[in-house]
Symmetry: C2
């Protein structure tokens, strides 16, 4: 056999392996940024934040851990990329869409919460990193939401603080929930609060914030 598919293995047996036929399995896809963040997302959703290591991530894409560094500067960048990836799932209504601002902001808040509960590791990332350099997806959502407040009639100096208030509440409320879910998933305790009750509590706080913001529009 030509020694071109088992390149320099120090303990390789001398016999020719039968699978020597197709030069490399299917090297078509190999490595790429997109493939890496997809694998990282799979790993994080399946096993949580502290299960993400460069070696495991390499195995997930079918490569050695150190190969990733050809495409990514390090673990931090992987986390930034995958965070922005899930931010692509966010939905916030356009500012010029029909319907009142309150409904639109409420939906956006629920959507942000739903995304974070789908990917509970997001809470850990936000705690550690904060949006260090917020990616394009997160930036886009941020701007869309700000537009919601601006067209609702909030004065220029208040639109941003108002948006921050809503987002802060959602992030804070959801962090607690996500940590709770992670603990459950990691085999800790059993589900205590039925889902409906958590939903109700979350919406209660969100509506109170919207009540408070609405008084500023009079």
């Amino acid at each position: 056999m030509s020694a071109d598919e088992q390149h320099h293995d120090p303990v390789a047996p001398a016999v020719a392996p039968a699978w020597a036929g197709p030069r490399r399995k299917e090297r078509q896809p190999v490595l790429s940024r997109a493939r890496i963040v997809a694998a990282a997302l799979r790993l994080l959703d399946a096993e949580g934040m502290e299960a993400l290591s460069m070696r495991k991530l390499g195995a997930e894409v079918g490569a050695a851990g150190t190969s990733l560094y050809r495409h990514v500067t390090g673990k931090d960048e992987v986390i930034e990329l995958v965070l922005d990836e899930v931010c692509g799932e966010l939905v916030v209504p356009a500012a010029d869409a029909p319907g009142d601002w309150r409904e639109a902001v409420s939906r956006s808040g629920h959507n942000l919460r739903a995304m974070t509960l789908r990917h509970p590791w997001v809470a850990s990332v936000l705690g550690q990193v904060g949006p260090a350099h917020l990616g394009p997806n997160l930036m886009r959502m941020s701007e869309r939401m700000l537009a919601l407040f601006q067209t609702a009639g909030f004065p220029a100096s208040e639109a941003a603080p108002a948006m921050r208030a809503v987002v802060s509440y959602v992030v804070g409320a959801t962090s607690g929930e996500a940590a709770h879910l992670s603990r459950i998933a990691r085999g800790g305790l059993s589900e205590r609060n039925p889902r409906a009750l958590r939903d109700e509590h979350f919406d209660y706080g969100l509506q109170r914030i919207l009540d408070g913001l609405q008084t500023r529009l009079a």
Copy 2:
């Protein structure tokens, strides 16, 4: 030399070291839970969450890293303990104190924020762990704050969600600030927002939530 102060060193020289006199330096204070959490708090405040390692913590108390395990089950417990320690700094007014509920809750929120900004690593802990098993200090503060809402006249089913709304906002808003501060401290960028502006934005959101809650008391 009596081999009782350099117990079993495989490459020890045969000559008697001169410093054999005072058997151990001053072994008076040695190790204890309190000493360990105090050292951990010092380390965390000085260098942040990811600088906390059992070895460094051991060095901080003047011991080997592995010695800590005689007093503490592991790193997680250290974090739980030190988190509850700083929660002892929290101040929330008594429910039967004079003054309106709104002022009391507002003060409590500002106090919680101030504590977290004094110890920015708290945000990381809340993100990762959530109050896993909330310690006695945190529990005490939680109950005091709940009492504030109950005596304010919130119906029994609303007092807890109302409290959670306020706490969630404060935690969410402060996490972002703390991450920002940590990045600044770690030498990243320069202070961009003056402190006063951040204070103002935080208070804006807090007051809007209180506005919203107040409407429920009519």
